[in-house]
């Protein structure tokens, strides 16, 4: 995926929607493109959070630890973003993410993302909206499952 395409796709994600295209391209340019094999761990619960991830292609499974067991709570696919919440808190990762099949991701550097957001007030607003949406949908999920 080249920079033009990356910027276009990223813009559709609410978290990045308010960043200008040039800033999105900058984020994509500075980010590493990584490949994972089936079963490889992208990050584990409790790990230091230094990046957010954007799936270019492939699938990834999200697990949380409940007691001794590891429970799969979600599956993510192409153009999904994950790992962004931990960027804002200084706690470790709240879940583990493991590749399901061949996975290609863009690792968006956390430091750069935070800088871009804090230096561009409009983008900060976009982030706040996206996170609020996430809270709302999580709450709804919770209500629906009980």
């Amino acid at each position: 995926m080249d920079l033009e395409e990356a910027a276009r796709v990223l813009k559709n994600i609410s978290l990045f929607s308010k960043l200008e295209p040039s800033k999105l391209k900058l984020l994509a340019f500075a980010s590493d493109q990584l490949i994972f094999d089936d079963g490889e761990v992208i990050f584990g619960t409790g790990d230091t959070a230094d990046a957010a991830y954007f799936i270019e292609s492939g699938k990834a499974d999200v697990y949380i630890e409940i007691g001794e067991k590891r429970v799969k709570v979600n599956q993510l696919g192409a153009h999904d973003v994950f790992g962004e919440m931990a960027l804002f808190l200084s706690t470790g990762r709240s879940a583990s993410v493991i590749a399901n099949g061949d996975l290609k991701v863009l690792k968006l550097d956390g430091n750069m993302f935070l800088k871009l957001v804090t230096e561009n007030p409009d983008a900060a607003l976009g982030v706040m909206i996206a996170l609020s949406e996430k809270i709302v949908s999580t709450s709804e999920n919770l209500v629906n499952s009980t």
């Binding site: 992208i42 230091t48 690792k107």
Partner: protein
């Protein structure tokens, strides 16, 4: 600081000013005589009779007499010139010395400012005050007394001479001075006022233009451009009026000056002529008077100008000292010349009824009372506005109590010298300021109080001049290049003891891993580390062996002359070696003639130009909106912020005229970019297979045809030899870590660590890492690393009391806990105060203090307080 400029000048340069005055006065007789001589020449030598005349007992005929007098005149000219030269140099030197002294005084005062002052005055203001605004004062100080004396004396001498020829002419000469002295300053004042008006008007115009730019959309939507134009026209008219007024007045002043300057000759010609005709005045005298009068205008102008400059300088000095005496400055006696011995702290740190209030009346500490023993660990808890930080800062005298007492080991902290606090306590918070230097210099920073090692005799002699100048200007005579790091104060007398202590601290702060990593990234001077090269070659062999495992093989792309390496820059691919010196430095390859010839031969030249354009376009798009000097430029961009505008112009030229027609300079600019691309890292789609073939050809051409003269500028990668120009890691790895694999760095790192341990290279690498430069404000370190360095800086001086204000918040929680435990262990028996952001960690500390709204609401032993009903219990169960 002296209250007025004049007092400052008198206090520090009285003797020089008097010397200057004396020399000036001594020069006047010579001046007078040089004015008199023309008269004598004309009257006695040219038009005279009764020859031979005698001078000093010698008899001379007319022409001889004339010549002697003329040569005497020449001699006087030289002498007067000589005086002027000496006086100017002396005056300049004095002015410069006083300027140096003044700057030093201002800087010393900055070192004693109360910390809140730095929030009120911006860095830029302080800098400009000490550098730019003080500069004109230096020139003025030199002239303050001597110029009026010299010019004034010259003026009086000349007028005196004219008076002596004929009193009437003398009065004529000065008749119009009072008029000038009265009118001109008044006119000048009006001009200055108008100047201020002009500045205001231009500012208004700027605001207008700013509004137009920000509101451009509105103007277009509502078609109000006519309205905007009318407004702007009005401001332009105002500015025009003011400027025209200034213009008129300025020229009127000039006209007046010139007129007055010419009226007097009119008086000379008329009155003087009559006097000569009537025989009351000799012809020669009139000529001399006219000549002398011409000499008057210069001193007079100088005096008038000096008067203006003096007024300005006085105002400037007053403004300066206003800014440099903020309330609450540290007294000099508490910062300079510390006590010889400083006893260890023991007892308690006590805070009694302390109030800390800021300008707005907000009390960050409101009658706080606390007792903290100096032999145990104490945690401070509370919300961020509870005053927990201020309480900690009191112990290091960073916050000063407005009311109440603070005592450290029984001594009132207000009376303690900074040396006592600096030696026995240490304070760290999250701001983690790291100075531009090596890691070692930063960690040892807190041990530098005064120069330790003496210099050898030769060095001391070289410095003698510098020391003398420093003493003449009240500056510090200490040598900043001497060794200031004092380990003996810690009781460490041998190198081994010092090394062990340093190592201990590095382990406690968790810096060893980081330093080993830095060591891996640095290059080694093999001569200083015998045996290291061979050890590393063994490591390399070991690693190459492990690459036979395909899982590991995909993590590393080894250096192979026959293959293109997609994890290396294009430039490095062509060189396939490490540049030595600047010749083949990656950023210079675009200008290197040999490289360019290789490009041509490999049919890559056109390609590189086109790629350069694409890369430039990309860089401009990505980085043009960032403020200049933004850190992203250094981290990610191929083009630095200063050069971006240049490239924009180049691209515009390419767009307009095509790639073939642009200048060589532009081509060079564009060519420099493709060399920096790493195909797998920068996925710009610019290095396809065709290009890679050609690049391999270029590589072969580069090494095969390398002229002898350039051989020393590159060290080719050779699997059997140590590459001295490359980093240690590159030497062990002998390849590049693949970009596409997340764990590559970690796994390869693990393998390298294994190899290092096996070959016992750990300590060497840590030492190398210590010498790594951290960049401006520590830019090359992550925030977490900077924080660790600052904690190490505090720990290394073995303080009796360590105060930590959540200093490691950039580390992940696990790492924070590990370090905290290590520090608590190290400080058993000494005083440790830690302001905690996470209350649950309070159980690791012997005592706890809980703060709310500037007050201590609970304090005591942790174990005793942790019972139902206490505030601590509440916080811990939350």
């Amino acid at each position: 600081m002296e209250p007025t400029l004049f007092k400052y000048i008198l206090r520090y340069s009285k003797r020089q000013q008097i010397t200057l005055l004396l020399v000036t006065f001594v020069s006047f007789p010579f001046l007078y005589f040089s004015l008199d001589l023309p008269k004598i020449i004309i009257n006695d030598a040219i038009a005279g009779a009764e020859f031979p005349k005698s001078i000093f007992g010698y008899e001379l005929e007319q022409i001889e007499y004339l010549l002697v007098l003329c040569f005497a005149f020449l001699g006087l000219v030289l002498i007067n010139g000589g005086f002027k030269f000496w006086i100017n140099v002396f005056r300049g030197r004095m002015g410069e010395r006083m300027l140096r002294r003044l700057r030093y005084i201002l800087y010393s005062r900055i070192l004693r400012f109360p910390l809140p002052q730095f929030r009120k005055t911006s860095q830029g203001e302080i800098i400009s005050m000490v550098t730019a605004e003080v500069e004109p004062l230096g020139g003025y100080i030199g002239e303050a007394i001597s110029l009026p004396a010299f010019q004034g004396g010259t003026l009086l001498t000349i007028i005196g001479f004219i008076m002596v020829q004929n009193p009437l002419l003398g009065f004529a000469a000065i008749a119009l001075y009072p008029v000038q002295m009265y009118i001109i300053p008044k006119l000048q004042k009006k001009i200055n006022l108008l100047g201020k008006e002009r500045v205001k008007a231009v500012r208004r115009l700027s605001e207008r233009i700013g509004e137009t730019v920000s509101g451009a959309q509105e103007i277009h939507i509502h078609d109000t451009s006519g309205f905007a134009r009318a407004h702007t026209a009005k401001w332009l008219a105002t500015i025009y009026e003011i400027r025209y007024d200034i213009f008129k007045r300025k020229f009127f002043v000039k006209f007046l000056n010139n007129f007055i300057a010419q009226v007097t000759p009119f008086l000379f010609y008329s009155i003087g002529g009559i006097l000569v005709i009537k025989g009351h005045l000799s012809f020669g005298a009139l000529v001399a008077v006219l000549a002398a009068y011409k000499d008057l205008s210069a001193p007079w102008k100088e005096l008038l100008a000096h008067y203006q400059v003096a007024a300005d300088a006085r105002i400037k000095y007053d403004q300066l000292i206003e800014q440099f005496k903020p309330a609450g400055m540290l007294a000099e006696k508490h910062q300079l010349d510390g006590p010889e011995t400083i006893p260890n702290l023991s007892g308690e740190f006590t805070v009694s009824n302390v109030i800390v209030e800021d300008e707005d009346g907000f009390k960050s500490l409101d009658s706080a009372n606390a007792i903290i023993p100096l032999n145990t660990t104490t945690a401070i808890l509370g919300s961020s506005e509870s005053g927990r930080e201020e309480l900690a800062r009191l112990a290091a005298k960073l916050t000063v109590a407005d009311k109440g007492t603070v005592k450290l080991g029984g001594l009132d902290i207000a009376d303690m010298h900074e040396a006592a606090i600096g030696l026995r306590t240490a304070f760290v918070d999250q701001s983690a300021y790291v100075f531009n230097g090596t890691i070692r210099e930063n960690i040892f920073y807190g041990l530098q109080h005064r120069p330790v090692s003496g210099l050898d005799d030769q060095a001391r002699q070289d410095r003698a001049d510098a020391v003398k100048e420093a003493e003449l200007t009240g500056n510090s005579a200490d040598d900043p290049d001497a060794n200031w790091v004092d380990f003996s104060a810690l009781g460490l007398t041998s190198d081994d003891a010092t090394k062990a202590h340093v190592d201990d601290i590095l382990v406690t702060c968790g810096l060893r891993g980081d330093l080993r990593e830095f060591g891996l990234q640095s290059s080694v001077e093999v001569s200083k580390h015998p045996g290291l090269a061979d050890a590393i070659l063994s490591a390399r062999q070991e690693l190459l062996g492990r690459l036979s495992d395909p899982k590991i093989a995909r993590l590393v792309e080894p250096f192979d002359r026959e293959k293109f390496n997609s994890n290396m820059t294009v430039g490095e691919n062509i060189l396939m070696g490490t540049p030595v010196g600047a010749e083949f430095d990656l950023s210079n390859l675009g200008t290197n003639d040999y490289i360019l010839s290789v490009l041509h031969k490999a049919d890559l030249y056109q390609n590189f130009l086109e790629t350069g354009v694409k890369v430039a376009e990309m860089m401009i798009e990505l980085f043009k909106d960032l403020p200049p000097g933004h850190e992203f430029f250094e981290q990610y961009s191929f083009i630095q912020s200063d050069d971006l505008p240049e490239f924009q112009l180049v691209l515009r030229r390419v767009d307009a005229n095509g790639l073939d027609t642009i200048s060589d300079e532009d081509k060079t600019r564009l060519l420099s970019l493709p060399f920096l691309l790493i195909p797998d890292r920068h996925r710009l789609g610019l290095a396809d297979d065709n290009i890679r073939e050609k690049l391999l050809r270029a590589r072969k051409l580069f090494s095969d045809e390398l002229p002898d003269a350039l051989k020393k500028s590159i060290e080719f990668y050779d699997v059997d030899s140590y590459n001295t120009a490359a980093s240690v890691q590159d030497n062990i790895l002998f390849g590049k870590i693949a970009h596409g694999r997340a764990q590559a760095r970690k796994e390869v790192g693990q393998i390298i660590d294994d190899v290092i341990e096996k070959l016992k290279l750990d300590q060497t690498l840590v030492e190398l890492g210590m010498d790594m430069p951290v960049g401006i404000a520590g830019g090359r370190l992550s925030t977490a690393q900077r924080q660790k360095v600052c904690v190490a800086r505090a720990l290394i001086k073995n303080p009796d009391l360590l105060i930590l204000n959540d200093p490691l918040n950039a580390l992940d929680p696990k790492a924070q806990e590990v370090t905290m435990k290590a520090i608590i262990k190290q400080f058993e028996g000494r005083g440790l105060i830690w302001v905690l952001a996470r209350p649950e960690l309070a159980t690791w500390f012997s005592r706890v203090i809980i703060m709310e709204e500037g007050r201590v609401v609970e304090q005591g032993e942790t174990v005793q307080l942790d019972k139902s009903g206490s505030k601590l219990y509440e916080l811990l169960s939350a």
